[in-house]
């Protein structure tokens, strides 16, 4: 990482007018970046990371001003604000009115009356499945995940927050009201899921397992797994069960120490534009719902993303769990115990 950082710094010094972005893999798609680069005559230097902790570590190891924009879990924006990293965004220069209202996530993206992030993409951690291998009617309830009928046919997405959120929904808890007292019951539910699971995998492993038929159901899967594979494997689908699903959302934030704030804002505006939104939503890394209702998606792309069903999905989805640091640690420990359970 140090070496990569060294080399990246050299590049950054060589082209000081470039935009330097800390991103998730969906923003690395040339089909997304090239139109912006060509329109503005700049280069977008990107560095991918996974997990807010890893992203924050990169920032801490960098010099102030090294980075201009960052992609971040919407619920983690307050963490960046608390560290003094982000610059307030000008609301009047962003298409906030065009966003799905439920994904604006003002409780996270707005801190002390100032907007520090804007939701760019969202989706659901729910049940992803192969409709030719399972009964789609069963997938309308989270109870299927702990049923003997699907023992050994399940993979679990290896990220504790959304799957703990799903376990909470399965036992009738609201994701926004979770406390330490709920953890024993959540742990029991997770252990039941684990007993049915063949593997617990990160993005690539769980996606591959579902795509290759190693498993028929992915706990925590959703359009981000199935939509991108729709052409190769139209049998893959996702459901929003009766108990609900967990809404994930990613945001864009601008660094306070950015040396190219004007360009950074242009980049955010481009990503939030109908064209940018369509390209981001259908990125080669993973698909997801564009936050902007006016995204320039084709009819086929909208069908794959189940665009028209979003009002119903959003009404039934619950927010991503956003625990404080202490509860977050306890949730991760519950997850560790689940992984170690045989």
């Amino acid at each position: 990482m140090l070496r990569q950082h060294c080399c990246w710094r050299w590049g950054a010094l060589a082209q000081a007018a470039d935009l330097n972005a800390l991103i998730w893999c969906d923003h690395a798609d040339p089909a997304l970046l090239q139109p912006f680069e060509e329109a503005n005559g700049v280069k977008v230097n990107v560095k991918e990371f996974e997990g807010t902790g890893a992203g924050m570590a990169i920032v801490e190891q960098s010099q102030p001003g090294d980075w201009d924009v960052m992609v971040i879990d919407s619920i983690d924006i307050p963490r960046g604000v608390e560290k003094g990293l982000f610059e307030p965004l000008p609301e009047d220069k962003l298409p906030l009115a065009d966003l799905f209202p439920q994904v604006k996530m003002d409780s996270s993206t707005v801190v002390e009356g100032k907007r520090y992030g804007i939701t760019e993409k969202f989706g659901y951690n729910t049940i992803g499945y192969n409709k030719t291998k399972v009964d789609p009617a069963d997938m309308q309830s989270l109870a299927a995940l702990t049923s003997d009928k699907y023992k050994g046919k399940i993979a679990i997405y290896d990220y504790y927050l959304p799957v703990i959120g799903m376990a909470a929904l399965a036992i009738g808890k609201k994701t926004t009201e979770l406390t330490e007292a709920d953890l024993p019951a959540i742990k029991d539910e997770l252990l039941k899921m684990k007993a049915n699971a063949k593997l617990v995998g990160e993005v690539t492993a769980s996606q591959t397992a579902l795509a290759t038929g190693e498993v028929d159901i992915l706990v925590g899967g959703g359009e981000w797994v199935t939509a991108g594979l729709a052409k190769e494997n139209p049998a893959l689908d996702f459901s929003i069960p009766r108990e609900g699903a967990v809404l994930w959302s990613q945001s864009l934030a601008m660094f306070k120490d950015s040396k190219n704030k004007e360009l950074a804002l242009k980049f955010i505006q481009y990503i939030m534009s109908p064209e940018g939104q369509a390209r981001l939503a259908t990125s080669s890394c993973y698909w997801g719902m564009p936050a902007n209702t006016k995204a320039a998606l084709t009819d086929e792309q909208k069908k794959i993303l189940r665009f028209d069903e979003q009002p119903d999905f959003l009404a039934r989805a619950q927010p991503y769990p956003a625990p404080n640091a202490d509860l977050d640690k306890k949730m991760q420990d519950v997850w560790t115990e689940m992984l170690q359970a045989q």
Binding site: E50, G53, K198, L199, V200, G201, A205, T212, Q340, Q342
Partner: protein, 281 residues
């Protein structure tokens, strides 16, 4: 005389300084930084031992160390048992002129990316993979067997890699062995088995131990293979360390777990130290 003496004393230091500087810069300083980090609180508080006490208090963390030691021990033993005869065949049975080619073919897996190799094994061991197709196609099994995403898969991936490493160290040791030892043993009436057990094996033990130690160190600290092949159905120590960094960025706890892992490696080194000397006794 004095100038020559000073030069004589300075030269060894001059020669060793780059290595010392390298070690200081890329091992000692990071290690001290990691040690310092492991004694601080995640929330930015002061000195604390809680990162270490968490490891000893949480059975799930302990289990990761137990899993790591079990997997590493199994991999090391299997790799030695496979590599020794392989190295012996290469050193003793393959004609001298073919040895270089045979050795090159033996280490061919090293030439591919570690990650690619692990994913290749995943495809081989998967439900629809080569092995399961052969098993179900031949009628031996009616249903595919779960091979991928298990501890067995992790061990297979490791053994595939480390057999090559051990073969190299044992082969080098066998080639250094003078043929006169075996001739002398034969002159004294020892058969091939007795010669091997009492002469060849003890003399190649340093090579085995060096290879086994390298296998132990590399295996216990590896993140990629268990992550790709093990299916996260159990956690090993490197996975537990990485888990602390991903979302929470808990570097103090990750540092403490890493230092505990290093302590285990140090104990393993001390246990093997008598065989790890460069010169042969």
């Amino acid at each position: 005389m004095s100038a020559a003496g000073n030069t004589g004393r300075a030269l060894p230091w001059a020669l060793v300084t780059p290595a010392l500087g390298w070690t200081l810069l890329f091992f000692v300083l990071p290690f001290v930084a990691m040690g310092f980090s492991s004694l601080t609180a995640h929330d930015g508080g002061g000195f604390t031992l809680s990162n270490y006490s968490q490891f000893f208090a949480n059975p799930a963390y302990w289990q990761a160390m137990v899993n790591s030691l079990q997997v590493t021990a199994i991999v090391t033993v299997i790799s030695v048992l496979l590599a020794y005869p392989f190295a012996w065949i290469l050193a003793e049975q393959v004609p001298e002129r073919w040895q270089r080619l045979a050795l090159m073919l033996a280490v061919l897996p090293f030439w591919t990316s570690y990650v690619v190799r692990s994913y290749s094994w995943l495809l081989v061991l998967a439900q629809n993979g080569v092995i399961n197709r052969a098993l179900t196609g031949s009628g031996l099994f009616s249903e595919p067997v779960q091979l991928a995403n298990t501890r067995l898969a992790t061990i297979i991936g490791f053994v595939h890699f480390f057999v090559m490493l051990l073969t190299l160290t044992i082969f080098a040791n066998l080639k250094q062995l003078s043929p006169s030892y075996r001739k002398a043993a034969a002159d004294l009436g020892a058969g091939p088995v007795r010669t091997f057990l009492h002469i060849v094996l003890p003399l190649t033990l340093p090579g085995i131990m060096v290879g086994a130690f390298l296998t132990f160190v590399l295996c216990i600290g590896d993140y990629i293979t268990p992550q790709i092949l093990g299916g996260n159905n159990e956690l090993l120590m490197p996975q537990l360390v990485m888990m602390q960094i991903g979302r929470r960025g808990d570097f103090p706890l990750a540092s403490a777990l890493s230092i505990i892992l290093m302590a285990v490696v140090t104990i393993a080194y001390l246990a093997c130290a008598r065989w790890l000397k460069i010169e042969r006794a």
